[in-house]
């Protein structure tokens, strides 16, 4: 069997579109029948789905650049010849792509320039299958796709990379649900699950900046970003500072506008660099909230709560 290393034999995302539609409808109907935990608000759902639709259009504008660069690296600079027909090659790219995704996703949360593209995915206060499709319009222009070029440099054919990226995206669709409480323990230990990803979408300070996994949760466990879901503290979804309306352009571009305003008021190179590449919420005088400051204040409150009963008992 031969496979064209430059042309993906199929697009997992395109193939999955009917599954997306059927399962979203099923989640809504099951929610309506009270057979599953699911909340849908029509305008929120419309916003998520139109963002998804727009994302496919926006991706088309930068596809030539992304594909062209990947093909150029692979054709001219690859270290090894990795055959598309070898089973071990698919196993290898499964792990390599998933590790790449972990770091892409972590970067997308922890540095404002990339957060500006990714923030829209977290902008819904709902957590359902439609939220999974609330995808970025600006992912192609922020250069994050460069992170996948080392795979082509290693020798993975562009078609393999494209297929595995699609597989990862499709995998991550089903975990955007409250209908599934927990998967079997062995599954929760290895794979990203609805429970793990609910934590990732939560705005509770204790859950911020965690569970960046794509398919395998092992990366979070390895790199110290894993936080389990605590049934005593249900996730509250959305952003630390939620959007004030359903305006689709605001969803897509608000953080970029915020960066532009901050840059316009910058007074030094340090401030320019901080506003662009600092953590979301970074400010020169530390007056804004970052995940770290929110977590620190939460920990201080928890510590005070723990001390309070002792103090009362002592009195």
């Amino acid at each position: 069997m031969t496979l064209d290393p430059l042309v993906a034999p199929f697009n997992p995302v395109t193939l999955a579109i009917p599954v997306f539609v059927v399962t979203i409808l099923a989640e809504i109907v099951l929610g309506r029948m009270r057979k599953a935990r699911a909340n849908y608000e029509a305008r929120d759902t419309a916003t998520s789905l139109v963002m998804g639709l727009g994302s496919t259009i926006a991706g088309g504008f930068t596809a030539a650049l992304v594909v062209g660069t990947t093909v150029w690296i692979w054709q001219n600079h690859r270290l090894f010849d990795i055959p598309m027909t070898a089973w071990w090659a698919w196993v290898a790219i499964f792990f390599a792509e998933d590790l790449t995704y972990y770091w892409f996703h972590r970067l997308s949360h922890e540095r404002r320039f990339w957060w500006a593209s990714h923030v829209n995915h977290h902008s819904s206060q709902h957590y359902n299958l439609a939220t999974a499709l609330r995808q970025t319009w600006t992912g192609g222009v922020n250069g994050s796709w460069l992170l996948w070029l080392p795979l082509a440099f290693l020798g993975f054919p562009p078609a393999m990379i494209a297929v595995q990226k699609g597989v990862s995206l499709v995998y991550q669709y089903w975990i955007h649900t409250e209908a599934i409480h927990r998967m079997p323990r062995w599954f929760e230990a290895v794979f990203n699950t609805p429970s793990h990803h609910r934590v990732h979408h939560a705005r509770n300070p204790r859950y911020l900046d965690s569970n960046y996994a794509g398919i395998l949760i092992i990366w979070d466990r390895m790199f110290g970003t894993y936080i389990p879901e605590d049934d005593k503290e249900p996730p509250r979804y959305g952003l630390v500072h939620n959007l004030g309306d359903f305006n689709i352009l605001r969803v897509a571009f608000h953080e970029w506008i915020g960066i532009g305003k901050d840059l316009a008021g910058s007074r030094s190179i340090r401030e320019v660099f901080g506003y662009l590449f600092g953590r979301p919420g970074w400010s020169p005088d530390g007056s804004r909230e970052t995940s770290a400051s929110l977590k620190a204040r939460w920990q201080a409150r928890e510590a005070a709560k723990a001390v309070e009963p002792d103090r009362i008992a002592a009195e």
Partner: protein, 133 residues
């Protein structure tokens, strides 16, 4: 051409899913705020603040609470809530238009909060001491 068909089909599917979501009426309950509910939500959104008195929007769709020089604002969006803080002085000066006080939040993510005002519940509060700390 195949991509165009996929796009058109997806757009039709989006319309269908939104219509079914609207039909299902499974949004979260978000009843009008009373003082107890407003205080609970403020405590969750602003855990480091302790407002004493509140001004609740005429339709229960929002609340403005004073904590020293800060105004803590909560307002409804769909079946969810959005929170922001601003200077109390700016909140007091906010204009009332078409029955709503329009608070400028100076945030591209939420530029304005509009809360319903009524004759018996004017903005700013006639007795500002009523919402003073």
């Amino acid at each position: 051409m195949e991509e165009l068909y996929t796009l058109i089909g997806s757009a039709v599917a989006v319309a269908l899913m939104v219509a079914v979501a609207a039909w299902a009426r499974i949004a979260r309950p978000s009843p009008a705020l009373d003082e107890v509910a407003a205080r609970a939500m403020l405590a969750a959104e602003f855990p480091d603040h302790a407002p004493t008195r509140l001004w609740i929007a005429a339709d229960g769709g929002g609340v403005i609470a004073r904590d020293g020089v800060r105004a803590l604002v909560l307002f409804r969006l769909g079946d969810s809530w959005v929170s922001r803080a601003l200077a109390w002085d700016d909140a007091v000066k906010a204009p009332v238009r078409a029955g709503k006080v329009r608070l400028r939040l100076r945030d591209p993510a939420a530029p304005v909060a509009a809360l319903a005002v009524s004759g018996v519940n004017p903005w700013p509060p006639q007795d500002e001491e009523a919402v003073a700390p």
